[in-house]
Subunit: 364 residues, 2 copies
């Protein structure tokens, strides 16, 4: 697939403009753009600007209620539950983590659980918001059911990522991973290439190992059974029950504590209903934050410097790849694929936006 | 291997007596016994009374300091850091989770990080203490380095379990799992049977996949390199970097926030130094605890009732197997293997304990 590189600032102005044309305020457009572009800058194309058209479709088909306002339905000095009334995930996510950060600064910790929301982009964005304030940031979300529990054949949990970020030098610890063995995005990549999936990633509608990407995706979309495996695979031999348990942890903080929809009830018909959680912890409730940061930084350095496997040259700590990608893309621009460019062009045509004035002339 | 079944109450009296002979008070002996027997009752033989001899050896070789007293080195209304001064893990663990529970009852949450400790048994014991009080309980620990980070060849993290328990009907949610693909105990079982390990569990000293259980165990014990893989295996293809990240989460709450020894620095020479974390969360900071419990119970039931994979008859939710094992062992007794019986007999000989008076006549 052909790619064109677009500079970060250029893409930011364009994306802000497009989201404002969808009907969002300038402030709202900036937040949504910030979440999407962080994903692109970190090298996670699947959750970046290529989702612009998806968000537009989700607004048009009624899953995202543009005119709804979130409501704090329960609050204590260290916690809150927010009902997003089916509004945009990024906006309530940004608000909720800012609230968790405030609580962590005043009371040591903030735990927020959100219900009735929609896709909120990468979980790591919110964890990093807290980390940038010197706090430990944690975020989890549920999502459309794609994970089949151990010995099942129906997807009951989402990709259910858990993200944790914590200040360190020279790179923050930044861990953002689905609790499935792979995300649906990876299966879609194999599907587009026409390649068979590695066995151990997915199950067919009978709950048996399958390498058939088109069949898996068709079944997930139509809720025919089958889906993607938890981290650890299809049986207990390689710990599939552990990935399933990790998915449950994400679910508990997002949908159980908020009393929202569990993954198996989200994204049915015109209802989204995704649930999220946001936790900010002030390290000063455990000691001197600088000492704690130095202790983590030292361990991360020990990990990076530890002996490499035969044939390997480098051990990464979580967050390094993302920071290196960020620096590279800041210089070279964000690679955007031709399909995404075409989808953006269609949106621009519909809203009367002069795409070339923003992005320059693009051949495809 | 031959087994004899010993009734729970019988084993409890015997274990209490043995630990009091080691020099613990009655109260201390009861706590240590309670932790070990919960593991046996839950069907986790590796962490149960078979460790009695290990604890005795660890006291004799000086890793466990019998005469030390823990010290609260930092405290806030929602948190504390405790230095265990190389005392017993179970005792500080019980104390720390009780403190976390108190804080959760008065302030909504309690987070305790403990340094300079020793093995504390199963992480789930502490999570369950909070759960039994109607709270969400979480516990993590680091341990002797056995987990090789992705693309490394030296064990740098421990088995680093994460345990989460939360009230539900008819079974509490109870998830207690190492962040490695398997525990060292599983590798020891294959070693005893003389069977090759499944590929994807462990690495040799070059950091390459290995099925050689004796070599793996020898290398771990002598810190020659190699070790057990994170959940997800040796590469990023099946998500090994995710298991490695989960291990980091356990490490952050245990050894980083307490500023204790990270796994790679524990269990060297006569120093233990294990670190733990204990978190109790009061669900009443999110809403009505009964409603939240009902919501979780309903989701767990939906999981159990969801369609089974071809050839499977049952989907478990986390905690079911443990509760069923508990009920079975309460009726039938705890199966104890012949090696453990012989080790117990040696201990009884050394301390002048009449084992037969406690356990009856055992043939082997």
């Amino acid at each position: 697939m052909a790619y064109v590189n677009i500079q970060y600032e250029t893409m930011k102005k364009f994306s802000n403009h497009v989201f404002s044309k969808f009907g969002f305020t300038d402030e709202q457009s900036k937040i949504i753009t910030d979440v999407l572009l962080m994903s692109d800058m970190y090298g996670i194309e699947s959750h970046g600007v290529q989702r612009m058209v998806l968000y537009y479709k989700t607004i048009k088909n009624g899953r995202i209620h543009m005119d709804s306002h979130w409501e704090i339905v329960y609050e204590t000095p260290i916690s809150a539950v927010i009902d997003n009334h089916f509004g945009v995930g990024q906006l309530v996510g940004h608000f909720a983590m800012k609230k968790a950060i405030e609580k962590a600064k005043s009371s040591g910790i903030g735990l927020i659980s959100v219900r009735n929301s929609n896709h909120y982009g990468i979980a790591g964005y919110y964890a990093k918001l807290a980390c940038d304030q010197g706090l430990i940031g944690i975020s989890t979300t549920n999502s459309e059911a794609i994970m089949v529990p151990t010995y099942g054949r129906m997807a009951m949990l989402g990709s259910n990522p858990i993200a944790v970020a914590m200040p360190a030098e020279p790179y923050d610890f930044f861990f953002d991973a689905s609790t499935t063995v792979v995300t649906r995005g990876k299966v879609e990549v194999y599907n587009k290439k026409g390649e068979p999936l590695p066995l151990g990633w997915a199950l067919n509608s009978d709950g048996l190992d399958s390498s058939d990407a088109p069949d898996i995706l068709h079944n997930i979309n139509n809720k025919n059974g089958g889906g993607i495996l938890p981290l650890g695979g299809s049986t207990e031999k390689y710990g599939g029950h552990k990935g399933y348990g990790n998915g449950m942890i994400a679910e508990i903080f997002a949908s159980i504590l908020s009393q929202g929809l569990t993954s198996n009830h989200t994204h049915i018909g015109s209802t989204g209903g995704t649930c999220h959680s946001f936790i900010a912890i002030n390290p000063n409730i455990f000691g001197n934050p600088d000492d704690i940061k130095a202790h983590l930084s030292n361990f991360l350095e020990e990990l990076r410097q530890s002996p490499k496997a035969s044939g390997q040259t480098r051990i990464y700590t979580h967050g390094e790849k993302e920071m290196e990608s960020y620096e590279k893309r800041l210089k070279e621009g964000i690679p955007v694929n031709e399909n995404t460019i075409r989808e953006m062009r269609d949106i621009c045509d519909e809203f009367g936006i002069d795409m070339e004035a923003f992005l320059g002339k693009i051949e495809f």
